[in-house]
């Protein structure tokens, strides 16, 4: 899998290398994870602006704290007026996590938490996007640590010209993904079960 993603990324880099310099500069910024996303084309395909997009989470470890994933990407196809034809496929490089504390950052890669050696990425793949009163809801599958669960990402969308900004999130229960599987974390004494995941994505069509 790793070898595959490396070769895909290499292929992507070579492909971009023959394109304009601007594109190849963008390709260098693109990580191996981006190569794992489906290549989609056509109308209402949005390219995420990594510099203007943020993936954060709020969890509780002796108090609420905010963490970030600095490395993630998404293949997005979404017509704001016909969301049911759209799709979202997001991937997160878990090693880019920063939970704001050296103890947390030291433990999160370990088997008890994300087990990043075996499961370096997390993904969200939508299967149904619909309009809601507040904005949009993307129902789909969230996969973390080799476990796939149904999840719904709710977001609002603001489109200005060819730029779209989606703000939203979802709440998960860390037990559903075996995050903190040892006895120390089997209850909420140290780390509470709910984790709020927040996205603030800027993309261009």
């Amino acid at each position: 899998m790793r070898l595959l993603s490396i070769s895909l990324a290499a292929a992507a880099l070579i492909a971009c290398g023959s394109a304009s310099t601007e594109l190849s500069a963008q390709a260098q910024d693109t990580s191996l994870i981006s190569a794992e996303l489906p290549q989609i084309t056509g109308e209402y395909v949005w390219t995420m602006d990594k510099k203007k997009s943020a993936l954060t989470f709020v969890a509780n470890h002796g108090g609420d704290f905010t963490g970030t994933f600095s490395h993630f990407d998404a293949a997005i196809k979404l017509n704001p007026n016909a969301p049911e034809d759209g799709s979202i496929h997001a991937i997160v490089d878990l090693s880019s996590i920063d939970a704001g504390d050296s103890d947390r950052n030291a433990n999160l890669p370990l088997a008890d938490w994300f087990d990043m050696k075996l499961y370096p990425t997390a993904t969200f793949i939508s299967n149904e996007i619909s309009k809601t009163d507040a904005g949009y809801a993307a129902g789909g599958t969230l996969s973390i640590k080799g476990i796939s669960q149904d999840a719904t990402l709710s977001f609002t969308l603001t489109v200005t010209g060819n730029t779209a900004r989606a703000i939203g999130g979802l709440t998960l229960d860390r037990r559903d993904f075996k995050l903190g599987e040892s006895a120390d974390f089997a209850n909420e004494d140290w780390v509470k079960f709910p984790v709020i995941v927040k996205v603030d994505i800027t993309a261009r069509s």
């Binding site: 108090g63 050296s102 040892s182 120390d184 004494d189 140290w190």
Partner: protein, 185 residues
């Protein structure tokens, strides 16, 4: 004239380490009985900080002891009493170093991995050559507990013996370790 008391440095090391050890024994018992909470976590970090201070001071003290002669025991003491005194003092040096060392090892093998910073400032490394596992954590936890219990018993014997020397034998065994009363160290 034969030296009648410990050096000033030895006396201060003795009492500072003594207070820290008593605090650690009581603190250790209290924190183990606490329900999990951020406060308990902070107390654990303090226990680790004080334990490492004891370890450092005890090594300094051992080096000091090896390079500075202790005052002679009273001539009235029987050979068996001298042997007992000697062994109990050696025992203290063993516990003063082994107890914090076992705690440091416990922290170095524990899952979860919790870094050590003395009083949240001075980073302290993990003990080398050890691999983290729950089994290793249990082993060092038991060792640490047994050492603490043995040291507590030795402490009682030590205090009892010092008081007996002072109030029953009326010799200088206690006073030679008291601060402030000696003219010079």
């Amino acid at each position: 004239m034969e030296q009648q008391h410990y050096t000033r440095i030895a006396i201060w090391l003795h009492w500072v380490i003594a207070l820290l050890i008593i605090g650690q024994i009581i603190g250790g018992k209290v924190m183990m009985a606490m329900a999990n909470s951020p406060t308990k976590f902070e107390i654990f970090q303090l226990h680790k900080s004080f334990g490492l201070i004891i370890l450092i001071l005890s090594i300094v003290r051992l080096l000091w002891r090896l390079t500075h002669k202790a005052p002679a025991l009273p001539a009235t003491m029987k050979p068996i009493e001298r042997l007992g005194a000697k062994l109990s003092h050696i025992g203290f040096y063993v516990f003063m170093i082994a107890a914090p060392m076992s705690g440091w090892m416990m922290t170095s093998v524990s899952t979860p991995k919790i870094g050590t910073k003395i009083f949240k400032t001075i980073p302290w490394p993990d003990f080398p050559f050890l691999t983290r596992s729950e089994a290793a954590e249990v082993f060092f936890k038991d060792t640490h507990n047994i050492l603490a219990i043995m040291m507590s018993l030795l402490l009682l014997l030590h205090v009892g013996a010092a008081l007996k020397h002072h109030f029953v034998n009326h010799d200088n065994v206690l006073s030679r370790m008291l601060p402030f009363i000696n003219p010079k160290g």
